[in-house]
């Protein structure tokens, strides 16, 4: 709208009206501008609000982390005895202390994990056992450098050492060691069961025990004499979980030429259940007991 410069008859009145209208217009714009300003201010405030929330969260996280690290630091300094506690006293006292500490160092092997310091790091010894039988030990020689690395080891090649090391060695050495412990103990346990089956229960096997080096795939044929019948089966045991000592997949199949009878099916099913729940050599030990019982009852 053009400013009221055009002269007309009612010049004065028009100017008045125009001025009035202009006044109304500015009045209208002011609240608009105010609401725009308000909107802008509100947006900024909410952005600040979010930022404050995020910063508070980050600060709390850092505070917790600092507290945790401080606590760990205290614990570590408590573990290492200071000079003041070693008494200036008899040679005997010191020697006794030395003996006790050497014994404790040796005792670590009962936890399954022990170690000996080397010039470049530590040689960790992992012990394995199954059902109380102490079995083979394995070692991993670690070089303590950036990055941590394995100098050499006695871990069998079919154990996934590289996979476990890639996952944990650099970030969580304890997890690496305990993970390896789990896998080695399970392997040792499976190997023990297979060895015991071959040595103790050879009489039941009607063919050679087929096994792989990881001892997680076993296949064999066996025969059990019960109630005057001779049950012949073929068993295939697969241990999918490398950290387990009991099989995950069991197949027991009928080996005879005659038609399958109910008593056979019953036997077959019960054998499958036994292999799933008991260590291999124990299953055959229970077969031996059953046969003995059977014979004594028959006679």
């Amino acid at each position: 709208m053009e400013p009221a410069k055009t002269v007309c008859q009612d010049g004065e009145t028009k100017r008045g009206v125009l001025a009035h209208l202009e006044g109304l217009e500015t009045q209208m714009n002011r609240p608009c501008k105010r609401s725009e300003e308000l909107q802008r201010a509100q947006a900024e405030e909410s952005a600040l609000g979010t930022k404050i929330h995020e910063l508070r969260h980050l600060r709390d996280k850092l505070m917790a982390e600092v507290k945790q690290r401080r606590a760990r630091g205290k614990a570590s300094s408590a573990n290492v005895e200071s000079d003041q506690t070693v008494e200036i006293g008899e040679q005997e006292v010191l020697e006794r202390k030395q003996e006790s500490m050497k014994a404790i160092l040796q005792a670590y092997r009962f936890t399954g994990l022990s170690g000996k310091l080397t010039s470049r790091g530590v040689c960790v010894c992992i012990s394995t056992a199954f059902e109380g039988n102490l079995l083979d030990s394995y070692f991993v020689d670690l070089v303590i450098q950036k990055p941590l690395r394995i100098h050499h080891h006695s871990i069998p090649v079919f154990i996934p050492l590289e996979k476990i090391a890639a996952k944990y060695l650099q970030t969580d050495i304890q997890h690496f060691l305990f993970s390896l412990c789990e896998t080695l103990n399970a392997y040792s346990g499976r190997k023990y069961q297979a060895d015991r089956l071959q040595s103790d229960s050879a009489a039941f096997l009607t063919g050679p025990l087929q096994r792989n080096s990881l001892c997680n795939l076993l296949s064999f044929t066996y025969k059990v004499d019960l109630m005057g019948q001779s049950f012949s089966f073929c068993a295939r045991l697969l241990y999918e979980d490398l950290n387990a000592t009991l099989p995950t997949n069991i197949t027991v199949t009928y080996q005879g030429k005659e038609a399958l009878s109910a008593s056979w099916e019953e036997q077959r099913a019960s054998h499958e259940a036994l292999f799933r729940t008991k260590p291999l050599h124990r299953v055959f030990a229970s077969f031996a007991r059953e046969e003995e019982l059977d014979l004594s009852l028959a006679s």
Partner: protein
Amino acid sequence: MEAERAEVRALEAEIAALQRACEQLPARWEDASRVRKSFQEIPQSDPAGWESSKDLRSHLRHLESELSFLSMLTGFSITDYSKKTEDLTSTEMTEEGVKKVLQRHRLSGNCHIVTFQLEFQILETQNKENLSSVITDLGIIMEPTEYSELSEFVSRAEERRDLFMFFRGLHFFVKWYEYRERTFKHFKDKYPDMVHLPEGACSHCMGIRSASRPGFELVIVWRIQIDEEGKVLPKLDLLTKIPRRALQLDKNGVIETAPLSFQTLLGVFGIEAAVESLISLLHARNE
């Protein structure tokens, strides 16, 4: 607005200071740099002749640091150990070239805040071909005893005389226990009005409530289970407490499927993010 801007500046300064403090303090036990640093702190030992008290003391210091390093590496601190040996070889056995020895061991120590005392017997039989060692007896005492989830596992280890499974299980159990404690504490500190730990710091469940929605409660139950083989697994479940009227309005059965949906959420996002999203569910309604 000015007040908010000032708060942002103050928070940024605080964060910078905390980050500096973090850098100066050692990080987690297990990471490689900590192991390196610890290893470098071990004084060199001089094994050749320590007759003098001074040499003996320096050797002791070396032994102490070796023990400390081993304790850091394994997570176990052995504080006491003794052993008694008994020869069970009879004359007949000696004639056959067989030797039988019974060892009685006593071991005590701790794994972080859990202390253990073990007594076990090992029977060593040596014949011409090989040497066999069998654990013939195992007794375990643990403290504190309120770790109910552990006591069943301990009995099983004793029954099976499985010493190594005990230590492995103990290690992983303590790790998960501390992680649960840290996680619950994190949420309690972050949302003090909404999160409720009924048993305090070592609670095995966490309740989420909202003041603006009384009667509604989400309870996360987090158990640490140890299976037959000694494997430690966390087991989380969601329980819902909903007023009857709300249940009637729930035509889509969202509440019913909530526990199952929570399991899916756990699988996709992990524990912390899943719990965070549950809290934000009730939290959002506040505004």
